[in-house]
Point group: C2
Chain length 343, copies 2
């Protein structure tokens, strides 16, 4: 089955290629009624479909953007992708999603691949491990937006959660309900991932505000495989925490596994709040109190910033960091005891 091209259509309709092109691009104004009909008919009869590759080559744009996520396993990532797709769809853009698996190598490979594919711009959850590459994109003015994480020293528009606030919301909530031995568990800080650092610092500041002591034993920050054993150590200390903040959904899963294995009772033995609105938060027993990110709005914002940048109307040459506000969703994983805490 031979590919049919514009030329075939043109021949069959007895017009020239360019007339067909006009038709395809909706410039009917300059076209005889009957001509249009003929073209229409020819296209239908031949079942012609334009070749986007050729068009892109000519137009020097692909109407496609690339999205590179650090880790597809985070529910936040998948939700943001959906939002980005929605927006792109509305703007007649296509999206190619790649998963860097938190490996800078892969991230680099994908960025290069997507640029070679001539995508018009990139939204990335940066691993933080490719400073040169980021910088070179900035230098060449390549449309780029970071989301979820930012990279110190790299001037790129970023869409972030107010992470300190997210941690603070949780700590405040614990304190209001009378908790004082509040721990936090997060995935590894080695790569200086923005949200993790900020959530931890938000946690610290909030404790300080409430005049609570800061104990290193109450902080677990290690790679996912080691969280369980770190929790084990934490809970065999003489005065283990009675409340735990899981800084993201993966950490939350680890905590829940640990809770299960050790038959801890939520919220009586340990109160729990997770950041990210896990799919089963409302199904688990007890239902889980969570801090929710406005994922849809964040994805939307990122896409819109990118479009502005692509369309060159980024009048304000300066980098914008956009913060979104988290929200607590109260459920049952924190005891409603009357507090002896502050406030």
């Amino acid at each position: 089955m031979k590919k049919i091209t514009m030329l075939d259509v043109a021949k069959r309709a007895n017009v020239s290629k360019s007339t067909v092109s006009q038709y395809l691009n909706g410039r009917y104004d300059y076209m005889g009624e009957k001509t249009r009909k003929r073209i229409e008919k020819a296209i239908a009869e031949l079942n012609y479909q334009p070749n986007i590759v050729a068009r892109s080559l000519k137009q020097k744009r692909t109407s496609t953007i690339g999205v590179i996520i650090a880790n597809i396993l985070h529910s936040f990532s998948t939700e943001v992708i959906r939002a980005i797709e929605d927006i792109c769809h509305q703007h007649d853009y296509h999206v190619i999603v790649c998963n860097a698996d938190d490996e800078p190598e892969k991230e680099k490979k994908y960025i290069e691949m997507l640029k070679a594919k001539q995508v018009d711009g990139l939204i990335v959850f940066p691993t933080g491990g490719n400073l040169d590459l980021y910088q070179s994109m900035v230098s060449e003015n390549y449309p780029l937006v970071f989301i979820d994480r930012s990279v110190p020293g790299i001037a790129v528009d970023s869409v972030l959660l107010n992470n300190e606030k997210a941690a603070k919301l949780a700590v405040d909530y614990f304190v209001q309900h009378g908790y004082e031995r509040i721990g936090i568990v997060t995935t590894s800080l080695l790569r200086n991932i923005t949200p993790r650092l900020e959530r931890l610092s938000g946690y610290r500041k909030a404790l300080e505000e409430h005049g609570l002591p800061m104990k290193d034993e109450y902080i677990v920050a290690t790679q996912i495989e080691q969280i369980s054993s770190a929790l084990g150590k934490m809970f065999t200390s003489e005065s283990p925490p009675d409340a735990l903040l899981a800084a993201n959904d993966l950490a939350l899963m680890e905590v829940l596994e640990f809770v299960k294995e050790n038959q801890l009772e939520i919220p009586n033995q340990i109160a729990l709040i997770g950041i990210d609105n896990t799919a089963f938060a409302h199904i688990y027993s007890p239902t889980l109190t969570t801090i929710k990110q406005p994922t849809f709005e964040m994805g939307k914002k990122a896409a819109e910033r990118l479009f502005e940048s692509i369309e060159g109307k980024s009048t304000s040459k300066q980098t914008v960091i956009c913060r979104f506000e988290p929200e607590i969703i109260e459920r049952e994983s924190v005891k409603k005891q009357l507090g002896k805490g502050s406030d």
Copy 2:
């Protein structure tokens, strides 16, 4: 920042375009050592990156395949995608994933878009709503593989689960543990989705084998929003089921919500088995017995079939339906009572 092309490289290295092209495609054999060095140097200095779009236009292949999934919300879909990506990555293919949201309209739009983008082949979870389109692809011999679902009357290679077996595994397990009032809940059958039909028929056959009566009241098959109320009706009947098979992970979520709202106790009041290995099956209390699909193998198989078809070595012109075997993962959501059931 002007785009630099092969020509720029050629000039700077004092060779012609084609020599550069040779270099890029690894045909160094016919090339002077110094020439190669010069080209290498020029490329590095200019930070040249080839334009894949132009190459694709010329080569009439994009080294890219498209994947259209029916519903991204099913964990099965996301797992299969990961598998497909892995395999494609190994074969130096790229993947573009689109989510049809179970809407034939969207599916159609995406198939057309991907073909216009000249992808070399398509793996699709068919919605079943675009018979003409599927058929036309078959007619024009377009590389295509269905996964998860097949479409009656359309001769396309398909990778499927042995769905009847999956349902049978669950029913057998229930019966062995003494259950006789076994219900099933699945999402809507309206569109004749293969796995749902087959799982239901597997359920029926298994009941029959065990000489158990088939009651319509024990079957919930409706769209997701109405599952909850259907369950309500089921459980207010005079003799409600004491065991429930959730035919996929979305149905399982609905069941769990219902269980929670009505404070049913698993497994004492209701035993539960879900098809699809939900992420929190081992964390839920009690842990959930599930029927697992070999998602990785299935994705891999689909990709491999597609490559064969793309590379034209699909010697056997006949359509192949490939079935994979499900496996039961025993956990705690079924009571270990001694059975009065058969066997």
